[in-house]
C-alpha cells in the first residue's frame, strides 16, 4: 500500500504539469525576472475554463443527465457550507486569526480552485480512470455558497454599521462571477453540441489542453513563489492550517462519496473540490464585501500553501484513498 501510494505520488510529481509549477516557484524564489504577461495568462485561464466546461458537457451529453448529478451537486453545496463553518471554528478557537480574517479565509477554503480541479482531471485521465462529466458543473456550483457563508460568519462578528449588507448588487456580483458563467455556459454548450461539437472543436479544446495547462502552471508557480517571498504574515500555525484543512475537507468529501456510492474517479474529484481553496473568485468578492480582511493572509494561504500542497501531494493522496474505499 505504501508502495502504491509512493508510485502514484512519484508519477504525479514527475508530470510536466507539476514540474512547470515547480519551475515557476523556483524562478520566483531565486528572484528571476521571468514573468508571464498578465493578459496572456488571463487568456489561458479563459481557454482552460472554456475547454474543461465544454468537454464536461459533451461527456454528459453522451451518458445523459442522471439523478447522480443532482445528488452530487447537493453534496457539493453542503460541503460549501460545512467547510467554511469548520475552518472558521478552527481558526478562531486556535486564535490563529481574528474572526474577520478567519471568516475571509473560511470562504476561500469552502469554495474551489478550478485549476486544481483541472489538474485532477488530467491526473485521472493519465491513469485511465473514468469520472463523470457533470463534475465540472458541480465545480461551478460550488464556487459561490462558501462566499455567502463566509460573509455571514463575518457579519456575526461585526457591529451594525460595519456589516456587509447582502445587497442585490453584491449577490449579483457573486452569482454572476465570470468564471461561474463561463464554466456553466461552456458546459451547456458542450451538452447541446455533443459529439458533433467535439468533432468540430476537439482539436482546440482537447489536443493542446495539457500543454496549455503546463504553461499556465509556470505562471501559477511564479505567482505562488512571489507570494512566498513576501509572506510576512504567515505564521507557522497558519501554514499548518493550510496543509491540514484540505485533508479535513477531503475526508468529509470522501465520507459523502461513500454514502452516495460514487465511482473512484468522481469521488476523487469531489475530494479535490472540497480540499482546494479559491484564489480568484473569492478574493475579488472579499475585497468588495469584506475590505477589512487582509488579502496578504487569505490569498497567500490559498495560493502559496494549499494550492502547491494539493497539486503535488494532495491529488495522488485523494485518488489513492478514493480508489481503495470507493467503487
Amino acid at each position: 500500500m505504501i508502495e502504491q501510494i509512493l508510485t502514484l505520488a512519484g508519477a504525479n510529481l514527475a508530470s510536466p504539469i507539476v514540474l512547470f509549477f515547480a519551475l515557476g516557484v523556483a524562478a520566483a524564489l531565486a528572484r528571476s525576472d521571468l514573468t508571464v504577461p498578465e493578459a496572456f495568462a488571463k487568456g489561458l485561464t479563459i481557454y482552460l475554463m472554456l475547454a474543461i466546461g465544454f468537454k464536461g458537457g459533451v461527456a454528459v451529453a453522451k451518458n445523459g443527465i442522471t439523478l447522480d448529478f443532482l445528488t452530487v451537486a447537493a453534496a457539493g453545496i453542503v460541503l460549501g457550507v460545512l467547510i467554511p463553518a469548520i475552518a472558521h471554528g478552527v481558526l478562531t478557537r486556535t486564535r490563529l486569526l481574528d474572526p474577520l480574517n478567519a471568516a475571509a479565509v473560511a470562504a476561500h477554503y469552502g469554495s474551489v480552485s478550478i485549476v486544481t480541479f483541472v489538474a485532477g482531471t488530467t491526473l485521472l485521465t493519465s491513469l485511465g480512470v473514468a469520472f463523470d462529466g457533470y463534475m465540472i458543473a458541480v465545480t461551478a456550483i460550488m464556487e459561490t455558497p462558501a462566499i455567502i457563508v463566509g460573509l455571514w460568519l463575518a457579519n456575526a462578528s461585526l457591529k451594525g454599521a460595519e456589516r456587509t449588507g447582502f445587497s442585490k448588487d453584491l449577490l449579483h456580483e457573486v452569482m454572476l462571477n465570470g468564471s461561474v458563467v463561463l464554466l456553466m455556459g461552456a458546459f451547456l454548450i458542450g451538452y447541446v453540441s455533443g459529439e458533433p461539437g467535439m468533432a468540430a472543436i476537439g482539436a482546440f479544446v482537447d489536443t493542446p489542453f495539457k500543454g496549455v495547462l503546463c504553461l499556465f502552471m509556470l505562471d501559477m508557480g511564479l505567482l505562488a513563489g512571489r507570494r512566498l517571498v513576501t509572506a510576512r504574515l504567515l505564521t507557522p500555525g497558519l501554514v499548518l492550517f493550510g496543509l491540514v484543512m484540505p485533508l479535513v475537507s477531503a475526508v468529509l468529501a470522501l465520507a459523502m462519496a461513500m454514502a452516495l456510492a460514487l465511482s473512484p474517479g468522481t469521488g476523487t474529484l469531489l475530494m479535490i473540490l472540497a480540499a482546494s481553496a479559491s484564489y480568484i473568485a473569492v478574493p475579488a468578492a472579499m475585497r468588495i464585501a469584506l475590505p477589512q480582511a487582509n488579502p496578504a493572509i487569505y490569498v497567500t494561504l490559498s495560493l502559496a500553501v494549499t494550492f502547491p500542497f494539493n497539486l503535488s501531494l494532495g491529488l495522488p493522496l485523494y485518488y489513492f484513498a478514493a480508489s481503495n474505499l470507493l467503487g
Partner: protein, 103 residues
Amino acid sequence: MTVLHPRKRIDIFVEMAVLPRVEEALTGARVTGFTVVPCIKGRGWNGDWSSDEIADAERMVMLSTITRAETLDTVLESLRPVMERWRIVVSVADVQVVRSDKF
C-alpha cells in the same frame, strides 16, 4: 494668447473592484467626465500589490477628473462613504484648461 481657466483636477487611486462605486459617486456629484488609467503595482500601509496577480483583487486604477472648483466639495462629500470603507487615495490639484465650457 490662449486664455486659460482655473479648474480642479481630482486624481483617485482605487481598487478596480471598487471603481463602479467611485463612478457612481462622481456621476451623482455631476462631474461632466473622467478617465481611468491602469496601474501595475503599488505600495502602501497594507503592503505591496502587483497587477501580475491572477485575480484582480487588490489591483488599483487611477481615475482622473477635471471639474469646477464649485463641484469639488460635492465630489469629495459623495466619495466619503467609499473612502471610509475601501482602499483609496484622493488628491486634488489646481490646473488650468483651455475650454471653459467643457468642464
